[in-house]
Amino acid sequence: MTLTLELRDVRKTYGDVAAVRGVTMEVPAATIFGLLGPNGAGKTTTIRMIMDIIAPDSGEVLVFGHPRTREDLRRIGYLPEERGLYRKMTVVDQLVYLGELRGMKRRESLPRIAEWLERVELSAWGKKKIEELSKGMQQKVQLVGTVLHEPDLLILDEPFAGLDPINQSLFRDLLLDYRRRGKTVVLSTHGMLLAEKLCDHICLISAGAVVLAGELRAIRRRLGGNAYRLRAKGDLDRLAEVPGIERVAAEDGLVKLLLAPDADGGRVLRELVEFLDVEEFRSEEPDLEEIFIKAVSGAAV
């Protein structure tokens, strides 16, 4: 597995506050990687250290397989959480400037800018000043500015915060398109629903430390505990007597069964069909929201 980005025990302390306390994470190539955590967990600080905006007290940042250099930063597209534009500049000038900051010449960037503005339906606004644009349009310009130089790694800090639904789907399509083209996306968010839909890998941090990391599917399987969902007719009261079943919770026509860690789902099912008319019996994966809350509130994982 090739890693696009790797952090090794990165730490940052402000005064007496340890913002990041030894974060280690591995971002595989061609994936969408979610850096998750509640507000104040250290996500933005971590990202700023990846982008070399602030220097870590200790630890290492590797990108594209080697310690990060300044040249590497030009292959990264970065959209910070707090984002803005020069209000008095025109859309095109602004984008040309953002391109120049990453080493693109004006004549290289102009055709790409035209193409992108077309794609986000802002072609008619190229000569307008940023301050004349609506907030949604400014968000599109910010997005174009982030991807204009065709970065191999996209780092987006809370990209969906404050987006209208149209821009949300625009951003989402773009991320999926990026992954399809073999590029890597790191996005930080506390919105679990979106992360669940988009991310292949996650790293959950809380209070500056990693509490959970890995491939999302594997994590779910691991953390699902041994939970099953049952839809059946018959004497449901006898469920508690079945060996291997630890807890039974009925909720509107469905029954949630929590099995003992060593119990086997198949064997339990065979027991159940003895006295129940089973319509549905399936292993239940916890949603990310649950994992998140469980992990952050200190439950062992």
Partner: protein
């Protein structure tokens, strides 16, 4: 440090400003404004040639004639700033009644003022002047001069001198100022030199504040619009800061270049338009290349000295109000020379001038004055420039450290202790 990145930043700062209307407004507006400031009062004075209607009662009977002659000749020469329309009234037996009537004439606006010359008063060395406005110092001074002259001649005549002798004895002398400089003495209107000094001083003061404030606004704009984080992910804060300072400095230099070119053109020999506008006897001061070089050098030093301070203020604060409060510290250093610039011009090698020009934050403005009126000794120039340049380098270093931390800090304004901690961050 990658110079090409600083260049990209600087280019943006430069172009954005040059393309804006504000730059051209200041480039053409400021000189016009300054010219208006100087020319309008002068114009009003000459236009206000509406002569003072002055009534004269001469009880001696010997002064009215010479006084009228003296005023007429002065007007012919065009030397008098104030003109008088003299009405000689014969003295009446009842002096008190006549004086009361004259006062009424002033109030009725038939005359502007009246004077009373009689032997007794003149013997005591004074005469009376009655007017609604007693604060017209210029009128009074001219009048006093003319009357003194006439009365002096009258006294001499009574002492037995004849008219020709008197004219010869009382002829005045004129002061001709010659500026002595290393490159040989050049005749130059003393007043012209003063005008030049004040002119350069004012321009330097204006551009230092103008561009310092622009740096502060620029830093604040990037900080408040949050674009700074995208920018610093691509360029180092030091490159961003230097690019910004140099870019805005170049805007200032462009403006000065336009002004210097215009001034050189206008003061070139043969440009009659300007010559005819100037009062007689005022030489047009010349822009020597040395003077221009000093001016540019002092602008560069002053710019980096104050712009770095302004950049720090912008980086450490969150909005314009906060920034302006802190920026007033810089204004103090820029405004202070306004209070002693006359002394410096009058005595460019005096202790005040020498000491203040050695203090780096005063140096650009004070040195500009000194150089414009008289080239200071070489060692003083060397010491002042060295101290100022060293301080400027220190300010750039300090600014870089505060800036680097400040641009990413939002929230409350840092205390001095916190600022110090920023400086010490590795």
């Amino acid at each position: 440090m990658r110079p090409s990145d600083a260049y990209v930043v600087g280019k943006r700062e430069y172009l954005v400003r040059i393309k804006g209307w504000g730059f051209w407004f200041a480039t053409f507006g400021l000189p016009l404004f300054m010219a208006a400031l100087m020319a309008v009062p002068a114009l009003l004075m000459t236009r206000g040639h509406s002569a003072q209607r002055l009534a004269l009662v001469d009880t001696t009977g010997e002064l009215a004639g010479p006084l009228r002659e003296r005023l007429a000749s002065a007007e012919r020469e065009g030397a008098q700033v104030v003109a008088f329309d003299l009405r000689v009234l014969p003295p009446e037996p009842d002096a008190a009644a006549q004086r009361a009537r004259l006062d009424r004439m002033v109030l009725a606006d038939e005359i502007d003022a009246w004077i009373w010359l009689d032997e007794e008063d003149l013997g005591r060395g004074r005469f009376e002047y009655h007017s609604e406005s007693v604060s017209s110092w210029l009128t009074q001074e001219v009048l006093q001069g003319v009357v003194s002259e006439v009365v002096g001649a009258w006294r001499l005549r009574r002492a037995g001198f004849d008219t020709a002798q008197i004219a010869d004895l009382t002829r005045g002398v004129d002061l001709e100022t010659v500026k002595v400089s290393e490159g040989g003495s050049r005749a130059e209107g003393g007043f012209g030199g003063v005008v030049l000094a004040i002119f350069l001083f004012t321009i330097l003061y204006a551009v230092l504040i103008l561009y310092g404030t622009q740096v502060m606004q620029g830093v604040l704009e990037e900080k408040t619009s949050r674009i700074v984080e995208v920018v610093t992910s691509a360029v180092r804060p030091l490159e961003l800061m230097l690019g910004k300072l140099v870019g805005i400095c170049c805007v200032g230099l462009t403006q000065l270049a336009i002004w210097i070119a215009a001034a050189t053109l206008l003061t070139a020999p043969g440009v009659l338009a300007l010559r005819t506008m100037l009062p007689e006897g005022l030489n047009v001061p010349s822009f020597t290349p040395g003077l221009v070089l000093h001016f540019l050098a002092l602008f560069l030093i002053g710019f980096f000295l104050f712009a770095t301070f302004y950049a720090m203020v912008g980086a450490a604060t969150n909005n314009m109000q906060e920034a302006q409060q802190l920026a007033s510290f810089a204004i103090v250093f820029l405004v202070a020379p306004m209070f002693f610039f006359m002394q410096v011009i009058n005595d460019p090698d005096g202790r005040l001038a020498v000491v203040t020009s050695m203090i780096p934050f005063f140096m650009p403005l004070v040195m500009m004055l000194r150089i414009a009126v008289k080239t200071p000794p070489m060692w003083q120039l060397a010491v002042a420039y060295t101290l100022a340049i060293a301080t400027t380098c220190g300010m750039i270093w300090l600014c870089a450290r505060v800036y680097r931390v400040g641009i990413l800090m939002y929230g409350k304004r840092p205390t001095l202790a916190e600022l110090w901690r920023w400086v010490r961050y590795a």
